[in-house]
Structure formats: C-alpha cells, structure tokens
Amino acid sequence: MKALYSSASALFLAAALVAQSGTESAKSEYDALVKEHATAVAEWRAAMDVVRKSEEYKAARAARDNEATRELTNSVARPDIDAFVARFAEAGKRYSGEEEALQFHLWIVMNGGAKQKDEILVAVNAVVADHLDSKALQPPQFRSNMLSRSIGQERYLEIVDLIVAKSPHDMVKAHALHGKAQGMMGRNASEEDKAKALVILDQVAELAKGDPLEVRARGPRFEAERLQIGMLAPDIVADDLDGVEFKLSDYRGKVVVIDFWGDW
C-alpha cells in the first residue's frame, strides 16, 4: 500500500513537473526519481536488517543451511530496478538531444545491472551520440569494469577512445583513461598489460593535475617503484588525529609497523 502510494505520488509529481519547461523541471524530475529509488533501497535494506536479526535467520546460518538463508533473504522484495531503469530511460528519451538527457542516461549506466544490459547500451550510445562534449561526463562508474562487462570490452574501449579524442575537458579524458588503465591492472593481468597501464596512468596524472585523481593515478607507479621490499620507505608528512603534524621519518632508528586501518 505504502509503495503504491509513493510511486503514485512520484508519478503525479513527475507529470506536474513536465508541464514546467527547461532545465529546472528536468532537474526536479531527476531528483525526484533518484530520491524515490534511494527510498526504495533504504526500505529494502531496513527490511533485510530485520531478517538478518531474526532468530530464524540466525538458526539457519548456524546450521549452514544455505537454502534456508537464501529463502529468508529472498522473502524481502528487492527494489524493482527494471521499473526504475525504464522510467529513467523514458525521461532520457523525452529530453533526447538536450543537455538535460545526460543525467538520466548516466543514472542507468551507473545503476543498471546485468539484467539491464540492453538499456545500458542504449544509454551509453545516447551519451556518445549527444554528450561527448559534456563536462558532466565523468561519474566514476562510467569508467569501471562493470561497464565493460555490461556493454562488452570492445565497445567499452571504443568509447574510451572516442571520449579521449572528442572531449574538450581534460578531467573527462582523465577519468575515461583511468578506468581503462584500472581494467588492465586486474589480478590476472599480464606484466605487459600492467606496464602499459602505468604509461596510461602517467597520462591520467598529467591530465588531472591538481585534482585528487592525479594522486590516485600516480599510486600504482609509486608502489611499483618506491614501495617494494628492500627499498627505503618514502616519508609521510601529515597531521595525526589531533591535528599535530608529524613525519614517518621521526621514527627512524626504530622498527616500525605502518598500519593502514579504519574502524569499520
């Protein structure tokens, strides 16, 4: 009942907004859809939490009864991603050719799953056809392996080349190339591919000068060339948790364990 109400009200809202014109209404329509999706995901997570805390679930886990645990988690309906993708696709089509369409296409690229391969390909093709010069063309997921899995490695690499050739924005090119390089450095990558990836990352660092992406792009070469066993550790100069600056080299003369940790 609740779900019906919320989607009905969102539909009403969307319809009302379409009546307005231009960027403003597209933005509100997009925001409303995103919010509705986020709410659905949050409700699903909360319901899953309840299941995971139930005695029934704990018992099934303890008994290593995979079928029973799966049945329990499947009893909670997932947000209908198909329906959301369809609505974003409809809006993308409606604004087709206009700048406003891009955000809808990108949402599908970022949130679509294996079952929405076709819709993702349509969205990607629309991005390539109409938005190659957009500055907004750089959400992280547009450069991920996930995309190459959903639209195929070949098409993915074609698109990266297209973006690098056509985009007037260095950061857009940098993100596209970063994604390509990351895809070449996977666990089973050959030494040759890894070496090629490092060269691409040098390019990314140049394109992204001054952006946090520059530091990230330099990371793999830094690790390969400065952080191997037998090498003098590079210094770290930064604040401690109380805001007092100190250096790793302050501890020269002691055996040191460096622990990248977090409380989660």
């Binding site: 003098l232 550790a233 930064a238 604040d239 622990d259 990248f260």
Partner: protein
C-alpha cells in the same frame, strides 16, 4: 585486529619499536569514543575527510584495509601485509637484527 596490536604495543613498550597508523575513518568525532573503548594508544596519521579515498592511501596505492608495511630501524621496507603471529615474528626478527648490529 585491535587485540593483537594492543598486545604487540604493550609487549614491546620498552623496545625501539613503534606502531604507526594511517587512519582512514572520515569522521573523527565518531572514531574518538571508539579509540577510548578499544584502548587504541598508538599514533596515527589521518587520511583526511575523504576516508579511504584520502591522500596518503591514494599516494601509497592502498586498496585493501588493513594494509601493513614493516620497516627496519633504517627505514627500509622489509615486510608487507604480515598479520597476527607473522607480524610478531617479523618485528622480533628486525629487533634482533638491530640488537646484533649494536653489539
């Protein structure tokens, strides 16, 4: 993680040894009470408000937490990602090397 590190720090309190953290929590206010609760006494660099995307872990290409580097007293990287008993052994070996050099 914490219990092992706590006992390592305690056991080597009077040795030339330091455990240096690079903390990657984005929210220091949430972390502070946890550090008291877990009795985390060692000094940590803060990786900044971007958490695991912060500048230190990015520069060092850290993609998994925890990531461990063990340095000898000269600052040379000698071991990576040794945990638990293996970490103890590695540190003890480096302390022994250091003592042998001093002799």
């Amino acid at each position: 993680m914490y219990p092992h590190e706590r006992s390592l720090v305690k056991r080597l309190a009077d040795k030339p040894f330091a455990l240096i953290g690079v903390n990657s929590d984005s929210d220091k206010d949430k972390l502070r009470p946890r550090m008291i609760e877990e009795n985390i006494s060692w000094r940590s660099f803060w990786n900044g408000p971007e958490g695991t995307s912060g500048p230190i872990s990015a520069a060092w290409n850290v993609r998994a937490w925890p990531t461990i580097y063990i340095l000898d007293h000269k600052g040379v990287i000698r071991f990576k990602n040794k945990r638990g008993e293996e970490m103890d052994k590695a540190v003890d070996q480096l302390l022994a090397e250091m003592a042998a050099e001093d002799r």
